[in-house]
């Protein structure tokens, strides 16, 4: 498993485990008792990307860009307004997650799980580890009693926690350990796809690397596919195979991690990359400081949503919204000027 996994995926045509097409999630803004709708917050607007089986796909952007909402729509924690989410677990027929209801949705969630950002609020403080990690197993009637304990012990061991701790409550654990508990819970049903919503951003830097390594080890061991939501580009560079960059609810660039970091195609990606802290103090001079606020998803600017903050903006950017286009290299970018600009990456 370990030596065939990643290499085999790279050489053959990878299967798309998840194909997201035109995903949108709009929240209505209402006023008064009659709840008259006065505006829409386009938290996620026409998002299209796919995920290959076995890879780690990064979903990056500033806070408020819609990456968490996208992640929650994928799992149907939120119901998307429009779009298709085709999930192909491999062993059964692909399904459109966006259209599933009731029972079918419950069946699907065995294959798709989530790791939460906040290791404190995502674990019920009144439950022991056995209850918490065993919750999905009980809910799906997989095991109970002695068998449940055995399985939970196995899961705890796999995330580096001692099985003897299963009678303890979450308050006895540190943030990093709690996050491991959350990971164990997500893995309880042997999912194929795990959406990790900023799993390390609430952790101390020292624990971050440990947790990231654990995620990487588990991926290899259990041939998992990750969607890794993050605003921390150094983490993304470390763990992701491909990256989707979002801005104001839209995808602005999709590329392999190496390509994206060495030669970004979208000015927003360039600005994000320039904000990554560098060990070399001289390099810090090149930092692009974006002016203005992130575009308001309830009242998006005309044309390209990024134009008010873009140093390269031309008239066309103010007038026409650019489509997400595939370049000759196969990379996707949403910018009128993508072919003309030469943007600075890192390394």
């Amino acid at each position: 498993m370990t030596d065939t996994g990643p290499t085999a995926i790279k050489t053959t045509v990878p299967r798309r485990i998840l194909d997201v097409r035109g995903l949108s999630k709009h929240f209505p803004v209402t006023v008064g008792i009659l709840r008259r709708e006065v505006a829409k917050i386009r938290a996620v607007d026409d998002v299209t990307f796919h995920v290959h089986a076995g890879e780690t796909l990064g979903l990056v952007g500033e806070s408020g860009c819609g990456k968490t909402t996208t992640g929650r729509c994928l799992l149907r924690a939120l119901d998307p307004t429009a779009g298709e989410i085709i999930f192909d677990p491999g062993d059964v027929e692909p399904v459109d997650v966006a259209a599933l209801k009731g029972k079918a949705l419950k069946v699907l969630r065995q294959d798709m799980q989530m790791v939460f950002q906040d290791p404190f609020s995502s674990l019920n403080p009144r439950w022991t580890l056995l209850d918490l990690v065993g919750e999905p197993l009980v809910a799906y009637g997989v095991s109970r009693g002695k068998a449940l304990e055995t399985r939970v012990a196995e899961l705890l061991r796999s995330v580096g926690l001692r099985p003897e701790y299963m009678r303890r409550y979450p308050h006895a654990f540190s943030g990093g350990e709690r996050q491991r508990i959350g990971i164990a819970r997500a893995l309880a049903l042997n999912p194929k796809l795990v959406v990790a919503d900023e799993p390390v951003s609430a952790l101390d830097v020292s624990v971050r690397a440990q947790t990231l390594n654990l995620l990487a080890d588990l991926q290899e061991e259990l041939s998992l596919t990750y969607i890794f939501i993050s605003h921390d580009l150094s983490v993304v560079q470390h763990i992701c195979d491909r990256v989707v960059v979002m801005y104001s609810g839209r995808v602005v660039e999709v590329a392999d991690t190496d390509d994206l970091f060495s030669a970004p195609l979208h000015p927003y990606t360039e600005a994000l990359l320039s904000a990554v802290p560098k060990p070399n103090p001289d390099a810090a001079k090149n930092r692009i400081v974006l002016k203005g606020e992130i575009a308001d998803p309830a009242n998006a600017p005309s044309g390209c949503a990024f134009h008010p903050r873009c140093t390269y903006a031309k008239d066309i950017c103010r007038q026409q919204a650019p489509p997400l286009t595939t370049m000759e290299s196969g990379r996707e970018v949403r910018c009128h000027l993508a072919a003309e600009l030469t943007l600075a990456g890192v390394n």
Partner: protein
Amino acid sequence: MSDKTAAVPTDSVTPGPERLALQKRVDLSVASPSYLMWLKFRRHRLAVASAVVVIMLYVIAAFAEFIAPHDPEKQNALNAYQSPTQIHFFDNSGQFHLRPFVFGTTSVRNPDTFELEFADDTTVRHPIRLLVRGDPYKMWGVFQSDIHLFGVADPDAKFFLLGSDKQGRDLFSRIVYGTRISMSIGLVGVLLSFVIGIIIGGISGYFGGVVDIVLQRVIEFVRSMPTIPLWLGLAAALPSDWSIMQIYFSITIILSLIGWTGLAQVVRGRALALREEDFIMAARLSGTSQTRIILRHMVPSFMSHIIAALTLAVPEMIIAETALSFLGLGLRFPAISWGVLLQEAQNLRSVALAPWLLAPGGMVVISVLALNFFGDGLRDAADPYRN
């Protein structure tokens, strides 16, 4: 993998329980939520003391017949307006007796006013004994008995711990009996408002949207009404020929008609806060059913808050009942509650002549303070995971 475990510090805990752990060296990592709550509650000394007082009050309420030394309805014109009987340890020769006693009394007619006046007859001692035979009673209306917790054996001895009223009835015994109605009317009323509050607050918080807005406005409207005139109006509408029980339950309903609003708001607030918790979403994504989420996740996390809110609502009910009865619109004679007893202290003459008639007011103060401190302690302990 297991090697990694050793590297991870496992005894680091969140600040709240950690500080508790320092006080008491127990294994908190396996401490259940209720144990953590107990640890936190125990640190609130005033609340612990109040809890003892509250428990005592309810014990008194439960065993009123046994604890009261006299029949509360036993009238005797000769005993009218007796001042509280003094309890002595030393007799007239200055000798100490371990068992406390009261002196006998002699009555003397005042030659000027022709009123009967009482004086201690120091030659007669009536020792106070535990478990003495006295007025017969029916415990909870079932068990016939005449054994009282304490009292004096001689039925003619005057033994009025808190004095007597106009009809010569023992005020202490009447307060003990009043505890039963006054303390229970708070509980029953709160339970009723709890049912209304949890349903309406739950609907408001769970559905949100228009339902929430409308219900919140209704609650604000109800709260804006001046309570005393409303109670007066409702209480005045009760037929005067109703039995004590009917009046009692009508009064609790009237009190809870307003009381539910505060509880509804607590329930709604908790429901809204819980909806945002990640662990609820995690449970949903884990395939846990809606019923199980409500029963196993939501109810345990807000039950402690509800209990605290309920405890804080009880004293409001007690005060409301006392106020209504004092004004003569709540419970009426022959029911005995602290409010009814205070009614007898309404006129200036009796207050001037017999200030001990105000004692039921002292009981109201004690019970309300104790319940409030107890509720405060519960509220602080309700969420042991936050500091």
